[in-house]
């Protein structure tokens, strides 16, 4: 009786709605992306100390934000699915995970490529980068668990429990790694101290983050449609050819 509370909760009703929204979000992501790149390369001034290599920040920081944000959204959908027992919520959580993991990989790789020119080594055991690495493991664990369980409904509910445990642990892991970093190395090597935050840099990062957000919504909607098709394979309405 909850599922008709908001009729989008039923996968069949949501399928066409998602279809219409994808292009809207896709285009806004593209436009914002172009604007962000323009700021990143043509508006942001050269940094006094790091020269041009700091321009990686316009990808690294938004990706790191998105990797955290998407895990929260994923855990939100998953928790909703667990409480309301609506199938679409579980599917949305599954749809978000790969994109969140992708942004985590992007954040890590760009962190490596930024670390090399700036500190001479690719992998920097910096608190944020290390926490980002373990965030990737949380994503991989979530996806691996859902992949390993055959029954979709059990997979959704097990994944939801794991995501909720994970979301509580993310700040704890981050704090403990931060504590560990100050204990062992002192705060000398740290990506957190970005170069002086000129207004344009902040603007560039925010625009890129917004672009990444729009992109994530578009991609997740597309993926949730694929999941709906995959799951409702034998449901009658799929065979009746509604696309």
């Amino acid at each position: 009786m909850f599922s008709n509370l908001f009729n989008f909760a039923s996968p069949q009703a949501f399928y066409p709605v998602a279809g219409r929204m994808i292009s809207w979000f896709g285009w806004s992501a593209a436009l914002l992306g172009v604007a962000g790149l323009y700021i990143a390369f043509f508006v942001a001034p050269t940094d006094a100390t790091q020269g041009e290599s700091y321009r990686i920040i316009f990808i690294h920081v938004p990706a790191a934000w998105m990797s955290m944000f998407l895990y929260l959204v994923m855990a939100g959908w998953a928790g909703l699915g667990l409480v309301l027992n609506t199938r679409l919520s579980g599917m949305m959580a599954s749809a978000l995970a790969p994109t969140g993991a992708m942004f985590t990989v992007v954040a890590l790789v760009t962190g490596l490529l930024w670390g090399k020119p700036t500190w001479g080594t690719y992998w920097v055991w910096d608190a944020r980068l290390t926490s980002e690495l373990f965030l990737l493991f949380l994503y991989l664990g979530f996806m691996a668990l859902k992949e390993a369980i055959d029954d979709p409904q059990r997979a959704d509910r097990a994944g939801a429990i794991l995501a909720l445990v994970g979301v509580v642990n993310i700040p704890i892991i981050y704090f403990s790694v931060q504590w560990w970093n100050t204990l062992h190395q002192g705060a000398s090597v740290s990506l957190t101290r970005a170069p002086s935050m000129a207004a344009t840099m902040l603007a560039g990062m925010l625009v890129m983050a917004l672009a990444a957000w729009m992109y994530s919504i578009a991609v997740s909607l597309a993926r949730v449609r694929a999941i709906i098709v995959a799951r409702e394979q034998d449901a009658a309405w799929v065979r009746s050819g509604t696309r």
């Binding site: 668990l145 390993a148 369980i149 409904q153 509910r157 892991i173 504590w179």
Partner: protein, 222 residues
């Protein structure tokens, strides 16, 4: 509530007593893992002392991980797990008892033997004491979070490895504070803050691990 806990705890300890091999093997595994590292890193005293806390703690994590399937898998197979879930005893009590039994047969022995390995690594007296305290405080966290992982992967293909993939990232705080306490006492810093953070971690892991394990068991037996 406590009657239920005592009932299930006594039963699990009785079963563990009748299968002494399981707990013993985990302990031997822990000692072997800790003894392997010097063969790789070289036995230079200063270096050994530096890596001791990390090696012993990671060994404890892996040993705890190794013993997690024992928590529910056997009971699922012979049908006793579903009897406990559908019984007159509250599920949280059953889960608390099983986690306590797991800690008593795994975490506690690991903690008692850790100082011995600390000696092998040349840790001074007070560091050994801190090591004992840290492992005593940290291993319940491993049992609590580990139980949630074991329940989530119950009856799933490749459950042993998958459990590791799920819970090892969640063991990071315990590792950082646990090993950090020993390293701190080695370099003359009071380990107090680390141990209290470990205690705080345990306080968070108790309700979280319990909720997650109960929910996961209901999902697994659905």
């Amino acid at each position: 509530m406590t009657a239920a806990i005592v009932l299930v705890l006594r039963r699990d300890l009785l079963v563990a007593l009748r299968r002494k091999g399981d707990a013993l093997n985990v302990l031997i595994f822990f000692v072997i893992v800790a003894s392997l590292f010097p063969l790789g890193t070289g036995a230079e005293p200063g270096q050994l002392r530096a890596i001791a806390a990390g090696v012993i703690w990671v060994g404890a994590l892996l040993a705890a991980l190794l013993s997690l399937p024992r928590l529910f898998a056997a009971d699922l197979a012979d049908g006793t797990l579903e009897q406990m879930v559908v019984s007159a005893q509250p599920l949280p009590a059953v889960v608390v008892a099983k986690i306590a039994a797991h800690w008593l047969t795994t975490g506690l022995p690991l903690a008692l033997i850790a100082p011995l390995l600390g000696l092998q690594y040349g840790l001074p007296g007070d560091a050994l004491l801190v090591l004992l305290g840290a492992v005593l405080l940290g291993t319940p966290v491993l049992s609590l979070i580990g139980a949630a992982g074991a329940a989530l992967t119950l009856g799933v293909r490749g459950a042993a490895v998958l459990t590791g993939l799920l819970v090892l990232p969640l063991f990071v705080p315990a590792l950082v504070f646990g090993a950090g306490a020993v390293t701190a006492s080695l370099s003359g810093i009071a380990p107090g803050p680390h141990l209290s953070l470990l205690g705080a971690l345990l306080a968070v892991s108790l309700p979280l691990g319990l909720w997650a394990t109960c929910a996961a068991l209901r999902v697994a037996l659905d």
